[in-house]
């Protein structure tokens, strides 16, 4: 199959040998240069092993700056979603309430308050007993529908209620709700009318 060598230093069938000339300098220099450049590239593009940093973000700091701040629109959208899921069943998606089920929230004096503390207690603790809303009497019972929500979610719902259907009250932040929750303590009972009136706004 293979031809015999015509004139050759080693017989074809012998084992190969290797010359002992040194590694050329250019390849060593190239290796070191590429190692350096590679280190620089890694520094700029790797996010330094952070599990959340994906290309094209270069670092955790850059990723942080591109987080969309909870713009008013985003909070309202989430608040609306939670409202319709939890509160709207009784209070109506338009905040108009339903007879024998829940009083209206649109234009309610209990909603359009300067402060938020009293209002926040209602979804957190529930409410029972006769209540006058916008001149009408409501004698119903409400479970603490907002107790299961997180601070941020409840704040979003309250902000939504306070800025929808003509209501023009200020926003409620998650920190506000957290403060109210912290002050509750013990095993909260649903409130009644007297307790509600006694509370500061």
């Amino acid at each position: 199959m293979s031809d015999e060598p015509k004139s050759c230093s080693t017989p074809f069938d012998a084992e190969p040998t290797a010359s002992r000339s040194t590694v050329p300098m250019w390849i060593v220099v190239l290796t070191l240069t590429l190692l350096f450049l590679g280190a620089v590239y890694f520094d700029h593009h790797s996010g330094w092993f952070n599990a959340s940093v994906y290309q094209p973000y270069a670092s955790a700091a850059e990723l942080d700056t591109y987080q969309p701040k909870s713009g008013a629109a985003a909070i309202l959208a989430q608040g609306k979603k939670n409202y319709e899921m939890i509160c709207g069943v009784c209070h109506g998606p338009d905040g108009m309430g339903k007879p024998n089920q829940a009083p209206p929230l649109a234009g309610s004096e209990w909603v359009n308050t300067k402060g938020f503390g009293r209002l926040a207690h209602i979804p957190l603790l529930g409410l029972s007993g006769p209540l006058q809303v916008e001149g009408k009497d409501w004698s119903l019972s409400m479970a603490p529908m907002g107790a299961a929500l997180s601070d941020a979610d409840l704040a979003g719902v309250l902000t939504y209620i306070r800025s929808s259907w003509g209501n023009q009250a200020g926003a409620v932040t998650a920190d506000d709700v957290r403060a109210v929750r912290a002050a509750l303590g013990g095993r909260p009972q649903p409130m009644n009318m007297q307790q509600l009136k006694a509370m500061a706004e």
Partner: protein, 260 residues
């Protein structure tokens, strides 16, 4: 070197470095990943796929769909748009200002500066984060695919060749089960000129009984079985369709932020 043991050790270490770096490290960093929350929400992501979608993933695997389709959206950059949300007390001043400014396709610092100028003029502005890249311009996703998108999948079918389009968001692009099934049975019926092979063996062509089966596929004119016959998907086809419909990666996450 003549010392065999030393050579073996050196080779072992050299090879082991790559094993540590690309097997052990990802297994620890990503293998212990947990659900994350959607940005500006407390909703968890991802929720596990429904049962038939998980079975559909196995149909996807068994038929090697990953040979032609990827499930990974790439993103080449991110920009900001400044959006005016309120004119404030001085609408004319604000609108005059806005007409002189570039509002779209800005870097973050520039967007911040523009937003500050609008606020200073009395208006209200929001910065919208937008992911950019050819995949995103094609509508294949609103942001790149990240680890959380594959959290509960086994096997992860990210794919390596795009003979056909990317499927990471196909559940959002084509949310109709009939479209998915008809496309599987006769791809050119839904996508004119498609080179995708027909997956006939997942369907049954049978004589229409007294009334057409509720599962029978609806084809556009010119395609479909001959008169008197209907195409009914087998359970595997329905599972595959359920899996495809569950492929949606369109929520903003911390590692892939955007303004929805």
């Amino acid at each position: 070197m003549k010392n065999g043991a030393l050579v073996f050790l050196a080779v072992f270490v050299a090879l082991g470095l790559s094993w540590c770096g690309f097997v052990l490290a990802p297994a620890r960093q990503l293998g212990n990943a947990k659900q994350t929350t959607i940005l500006n929400s407390t909703d968890l992501y991802p929720m596990g796929r429904p049962g038939d979608a998980n079975m559909g993933l196995q149909v996807y695997r068994a038929n090697g769909c990953a040979a032609c389709h990827t499930e990974q959206v790439r993103q080449s950059g991110v920009t900001c748009n400044v959006v005016l949300t309120g004119a404030g007390k001085n609408p004319e001043l604000v609108s005059n200002l806005v007409s002189t400014l570039k509002l779209n396709g800005l870097a973050k610092e520039v967007a911040d500066a523009v937003s500050d100028r609008i606020t200073a003029a009395g208006g209200k502005a929001e910065i919208h984060i937008i992911a950019t890249g050819p995949d995103i311009s094609r509508g294949w996703g609103t942001r790149q695919s990240v680890a959380e998108d594959f959290l509960y999948d086994y096997p992860v079918q990210t794919g390596s060749l795009r003979a056909g389009p990317d499927l990471a968001n196909i559940g959002v692009r084509e949310p109709d089960a009939n479209w998915q099934l008809a496309h599987l049975y006769a791809p050119s019926s839904e996508v004119k000129g498609s080179v995708m092979p027909s997956i006939h063996f997942l369907f049954e062509v049978r004589k229409t009984g007294g009334a057409p089966s509720p599962d029978a596929l609806v084809f556009p004119k010119g395609f479909g079985p001959p008169a008197g016959y209907e195409v009914v998907p087998k359970p595997e086809a329905k599972e595959l369709a359920a899996y495809l419909l569950s492929l949606r990666a369109n929520v903003p996450l911390y590692s892939a932020p955007f303004t929805p």
